[in-house]
């Protein structure tokens, strides 16, 4: 609970600091706030199993784990993107929006009530709509923001209809109560319809086919660092929420939903990887790759009653780390050459900035799932679980799409190692350099500590 308070206050205090013209203090406050959140989570670890405030939130280890991961991601994001908004005069607004969004993410990790779910999603999303459109002069940013917002609103209404039907069938918004009701009464048509509509709502949020079409457009149009946030914070939180929902409230229906999830995963994998492999724009490519990773995480949700949530947590963490690195690198590269985002922009990076190139290479290899990088273990856990659930076909498709994934990730790596003439250095700050190095180490180190998953 403390965590949520800290975070909410964080957003407000950012705004307050702006008002009192203490802009210099904003970043330290953010760092303090996020570190405070992490510390508080660690202190609460294992102690807090009681739900808060009439079963609205439950800060159990599941929630705390996700909160720690998401706060760490947000913290890194803030540090690594310090120069992203430096040009913008009203960057405090954006910082505050990120902080609010993070609060929403936190709610999604800890909710135990549909109301909180709904609110969490909206608190997470509404700032994101704005952030996606935050590059106000850019038409594509506008387009991105609008598409995100509008389709998001549509998805929300479908999700809400689903929640309404679930309420109609069970008479409750409380997750455990819903689970009990389903177990005692069985799942009728209305309940299942509600369930399906909730799936649609979530599928939209986490970009699962055929509800993913917004994702590449929005990711591409949004400012790069915002995209980084979308693919880490938003996605992680949405999956945390989804997993929780299907591990508690809808656990009795998982056998039914499994087929749906399998089909959706397969479609997602095929569509996203196929599209990614024909992209010329790396940002859009990464967007599609993000969609394909969603399919892996969806598999974790699908197996919510057999798999340990730590598998999903691990995946989110691993994916977030590499995702932040890729988008941050892309940001630096594209900033250095007038917003170019094609493969050519990456050419000669190994000379222009070896640290960026190294970190990017590791990140891409990690996403591709090549040992000894953490991405391999993450995928391994999922595929192993999928096979255990006897969904061999899904596993095969996952494997095939991983191979396609390697193809397009390597295209970027290839470009980085293609020498070019008279390339200027790409300058990054010391802090960023350290962060890139830390993240690189993390990508390898997470592989070896994967033992603690489960």
């Amino acid at each position: 609970m403390k965590e949520l308070i800290i975070t909410s206050l964080l957003g407000i205090s950012i705004l307050a600091l702006d008002i009192v013209k203490l802009r210099k203090a904003i970043l330290p406050v953010i760092i303090l706030g996020l570190l405070g959140t992490i510390t508080s989570c660690i202190l609460d670890w294992g102690h807090n199993e009681n739900p808060f405030n009439n079963n609205m939130l439950l800060f159990d280890n599941y929630a705390l784990g996700f909160i720690v991961i998401l706060s760490a991601v947000t913290l890194v994001w803030f540090l690594i993107s310090t120069d992203h908004f430096s040009g913008s005069e009203s960057r405090t607004d954006l910082y505050a929006l990120v902080a609010f969004s993070f609060a929403g993410a936190m709610i999604l990790a800890a909710y135990t009530n549909m109301v909180m779910l709904f609110l969490g999603i909206e608190i997470l999303s509404i700032p994101m709509y704005v952030l996606a459109a935050s590059n106000k002069k850019e038409l594509i940013s506008n387009e991105s923001g609008f598409k995100y917002f509008f389709l998001g609103a549509l998805a929300s209404s479908i999700l809400l209809f689903g929640i309404a039907l679930i309420y109609g069938a069970t008479g409750s918004f409380d997750l455990p109560t819903i689970a009990t009701a389903i177990t005692t009464n069985g799942s009728g048509t209305i309940l299942t319809a509600g369930l399906l509509m909730i799936i649609v709502g979530f599928a939209f949020k986490v970009s699962i086919a055929p509800f993913h079409f917004w994702a590449p457009d929005v990711y591409q149009g949004a400012p790069t660092m915002v995209t980084a946030l979308m693919s880490t914070l938003v996605k992680g939180a949405a999956f945390a929420a989804m997993f929780k929902l299907f591990a508690t409230a809808f656990a009795p229906t998982l056998d039914f939903t499994q087929t749906i999830f399998v089909v959706m995963s397969i479609i997602t994998l095929l569509a996203s990887n196929a599209m990614a492999s024909i992209q010329a724009n790396t940002k859009r490519l990464l967007a599609y790759s993000s969609v394909s990773h969603a399919a892996f995480m969806l598999a974790a949700v699908m197996l919510a009653n057999t798999i340990s949530p730590s598998v999903l947590m691990y995946y989110v963490l691993v994916y977030s780390v590499s995702s932040i690195v890729t988008f941050a690198t892309l940001y630096h590269i594209s900033k250095a050459q007038n917003g170019a985002e094609g493969f050519d922009a990456f050419k000669g990076l190994v000379k222009r900035n070896p640290i960026l190139a190294g970190a990017m290479t590791l990140a891409l290899l990690s996403m591709a799932g090549i040992p000894p990088l953490s991405g391999f273990m993450a995928k391994y856990f999922i595929i192993g679980a999928v096979i255990q659930a006897d969904q061999i076909w899904l596993a095969v498709i996952m494997i095939l799409s991983s191979a396609i994934g390697i193809y397009y990730y390597l295209k970027i790596i290839m470009a980085m190692f293609t020498p070019i003439e008279n390339a200027g250095r790409i300058v990054i700050t010391d802090l960023q350099r350290i962060l890139f190095i830390i993240l690189s180490i993390a990508m390898v180190a997470l592989f070896f500590v994967a033992a603690f998953v489960k």
């Binding site: 609110l119 608190i123 700032p127 459109a133």
Partner: protein, 167 residues
């Protein structure tokens, strides 16, 4: 008896004006039809003893949201026919998709016989301000507080987007 007639009347009104909202070409008419729909829905709330909600509904939707819409339309000077170029293909596709969706949803929700309803206490007085207030400020205090965060965020966002950059 009366409620039954009221139900049918309000329902018809809601559906009709909703359809008008969709098909009419003039955005202003659309807004006005939607407001009519909202009133009809508010009427339903009254029928179902949700007086507080009906009031809030009128205030928020008809009073605030739709006014906002109207305001935007006026400000952007959209109160004229804007030619929407659409292919017949997409049109028919959307009609077909809409019809099937409606059909499917209807087919689904008519299965209420499968529901096992366990009615709760104090059913008659539910919609009153007192009860709702209790629920809102006791059970749902946290969401209520978080709603304020949501508003703050939305406000900041809207302000950010609307203000001119002073560079």
């Amino acid at each position: 008896m009366l409620t039954e007639y009221a139900f049918w009347f309000l329902s018809f009104l809601a559906v009709f004006s909703a359809l008008t909202m969709v098909v009419t070409k003039n955005p202003v008419y659309s807004v006005l039809s939607l407001i009519l729909t909202f009133f009809a829905i508010a009427g339903h709330y009254f029928l179902m003893n949700a007086q507080f909600l009906a009031a809030v509904h009128i205030i928020v939707y008809a009073g605030a949201i739709m006014v906002l819409f109207l305001y935007v339309i006026m400000m952007l000077n959209l109160n004229k026919f804007e030619d929407e170029k659409k292919s017949l293909f997409m049109n028919s596709l959307s009609v077909i998709a809409g019809c099937i969706l409606g059909f499917v949803l209807l087919a689904v929700v008519k299965r209420t016989d499968e529901l096992t309803i366990v009615a709760k206490a104090s059913s008659a007085e539910v919609g009153l301000v007192e009860n709702l207030g209790n629920a809102l400020y006791k059970d749902y205090l946290l969401p209520f507080e978080m709603a304020s965060v949501l508003f703050l965020a939305a406000m900041v966002g809207a302000v950010y987007l609307s203000k001119k950059e002073m560079v």
